[in-house]
Amino acid sequence: MEWRKLLLLVAILALAQLAQAQSTKYGVGRTPTPEEIRAWDISIGPDGKELPPGHGTAAEGAKLFREKQCVVCHGSTGSGGPAPTLIKSDGTKKSKYPCLVPCVDDALVMSLHAQYATTMWDYINRAMPLNKQGTLKPDEVYSLVAFLLFKNGVIAENQVLDPETLPRVKMPNRDHAALAPEWKHAAPRLQGYP
């Protein structure tokens, strides 16, 4: 009986191979495994549908902000450090982080300027802490986002962020950002300008 199963498997594999070769014109490259796609895909869209399970709070985030050394680069109060300002200050503490415009200070901190909280989750997860990217666990990222949003007055201190609540956070800049009109081939970048 076993050999029949094996034969079936071989036949299915051969068919799959054929399907792949037939469906692509050039037959170059291979199909990634679902595990490979999962491991590579770190994009979190505005709907948050790719957010992993987990949850976090501002209180947890406050601890992590010190433990994970965020303070070393971003300043103990989230401003005045060598890296961009993360927590709006009283306006006197500018980041030492030099910039072209727009500078990441106060009104332009990510919590206030981003349209979606998912942008923060995605970025902290992929890029922070600098030089140790990819070491934060989902719960830790939820907590750090909650901490930064709370400190900037966007959410309440006790709000729990998880895959359901995080995409629904009403970001202050949500309705003040415009998308460029639909792109068209061989059209001026903006009709009528100047």
Partner: protein, 413 residues
């Protein structure tokens, strides 16, 4: 085996007859005109991979707002010395460098590098760099320009005012071929392209553009991409703001909407018109000679020359004004005008030795003309004063002031 320097010198002395003859063929050697220095260092290295003359010093500099490398060792924005440029190709070693808010330049082994295409496709695919090179390629010149390429009154040289643009001959596979291999599903409206560097910079690009003329490039100016330009593969999005041209391309995900990545969010603006002007570049031109901190030795004939480019089309014409914008005359295009590439213009001009302001403006094949600051201000209903910041990617006409002593200064100052 390396020839020791002293040995090489001896060898060169023994060949004095040949060298003497060669030198004599050019010019008699005299006290004011010493024989050329023949002892170039590292002859073997030079034979295997050439270097420019030790007398040529043209080099890139960091933007003044922030040094590269910065205190984290990251590269931020580095300006190309376009005052020294000739033709339209920027040497790869002098190509401007921009990273969104700074990043490390990775040293990627091309054998290990992969590109994955997934998301709203029928068949996710993964390619090695060698596999990408098996697809039909195209080679074409394209300019790149950073959104930060904005002239300020404090800038002195054209490297500072306009050095965040460069033009290379790129070789790569049309992205549409790779996307068609994967099979774009209906409803896919954007691609999210992502790099392999430490912060995995990503950006959203409309699917229409992705299927139109984007390239997955592996060649630059006849050789492999330079690491600072994305080795081993990068995305080219012709005419779009530099940020979209993702380096170290490792992943393309097809999605149903703009994903507002870190890079995307950094450029969001409240006005859709400004968003359009931010996404796409030009038409824009600038005079590279005579330009800031250069000096005309005296009245007489000069060639005013510079670069023109547009993010929508080829350059149709360039006009020059030598009277501060009161009158304009057509310049000559000295290179073919390629779509979305730099075009070199020139204008033979006799300077009468009087103070004047020179400027250039271009028109692209769609008939769009480069605006003055006043025209941009008027369009947005803003006063045209020193505080006015042309919205989006600034493509306004830029003036150089030539003083009676021949010195050239930023005309905005």
């Amino acid at each position: 085996m390396k020839i020791k320097s002293s040995g090489r010198r001896k060898f060169l002395k023994n060949s004095a007859a040949i060298i003497g003859a060669a030198a004599a063929g050019i010019r008699p050697a005299g006290a004011e005109n010493p024989p050329p220095e023949m002892d170039m260092p590292d002859l073997e290295a030079l034979i295997s991979y050439g270097q420019r003359s030790s007398f040529v010093k043209s080099h890139r500099v960091s933007v003044m707002e922030r040094m590269s490398p910065d205190e984290f060792g990251m590269t931020f924005h580095v300006l190309s010395p376009i005052q020294d440029s000739v033709g339209i190709i920027t040497p790869s070693s002098l190509h401007y460098i921009s990273t969104h808010r700074g990043s490390y330049v990775p040293n990627i082994d091309p054998q290990e590098h992969r590109l994955m295409i997934h998301g709203m496709v029928d068949r996710p695919l993964i390619f090695s760099v060698d596999e990408i090179k098996r697809f039909p390629f195209v080679t074409r010149p394209l300019f790149l320009e950073c959104l930060g390429n904005r002239a300020k009154a404090s800038h002195k040289t054209v490297q500072e005012t306009h050095g965040l643009t460069s033009c290379s001959e790129w070789t790569g596979v049309p992205l549409s071929i790779l996307l068609n291999e994967a099979g774009v599903q209906s409803g896919a409206a954007f691609i999210v392209a992502e790099g392999a560097e430490s912060v995995k910079g990503a950006t959203s690009i409309p699917i229409g553009k992705a299927m139109d003329d984007c390239l997955v490039a592996y060649g630059q100016n006849g050789e492999a991409l330079r690491p600072q330009q994305g080795f081993p593969i990068r995305l080219l999005v012709p005419g779009f703001e530099g940020m979209h041209n993702v380096k170290y391309l490792r992943r393309i995900k097809l999605v149903e909407k703009d994903y507002m990545t870190y890079n995307d969010y950094g450029h969001i603006v409240p006005d859709a018109r400004v968003a359009a002007l931010t996404r796409q570049i030009g038409p824009k031109s600038v005079i590279t000679f005579p330009s800031g901190e250069q000096k005309l030795p005296g009245p007489g004939l000069y060639e005013i020359t510079g670069l023109a480019w547009s993010g929508s089309a080829a350059i149709r014409n360039v006009e020059i004004s030598t009277d501060g914008g009161q009158s304009w005359k057509l310049a000559e295009l000295r290179t073919p005008s390629y779509s979305m590439a730099h075009t070199r213009f020139a204008f033979p001009w006799t300077w009468d030795g009087k103070e004047c302001v020179i400027m250039s403006r271009c028109t692209d094949e769609l008939g769009t003309r480069q605006p003055t600051r006043a025209e941009s201000a008027k369009f947005f209903g803003k006063p045209d004063n020193a505080d006015f910041r042309a919205p989006g990617a600034d493509n306004t006409v830029f003036p150089w002031r030539i003083a009676a002593d021949g010195s050239v200064q930023n005309g905005m100052a």
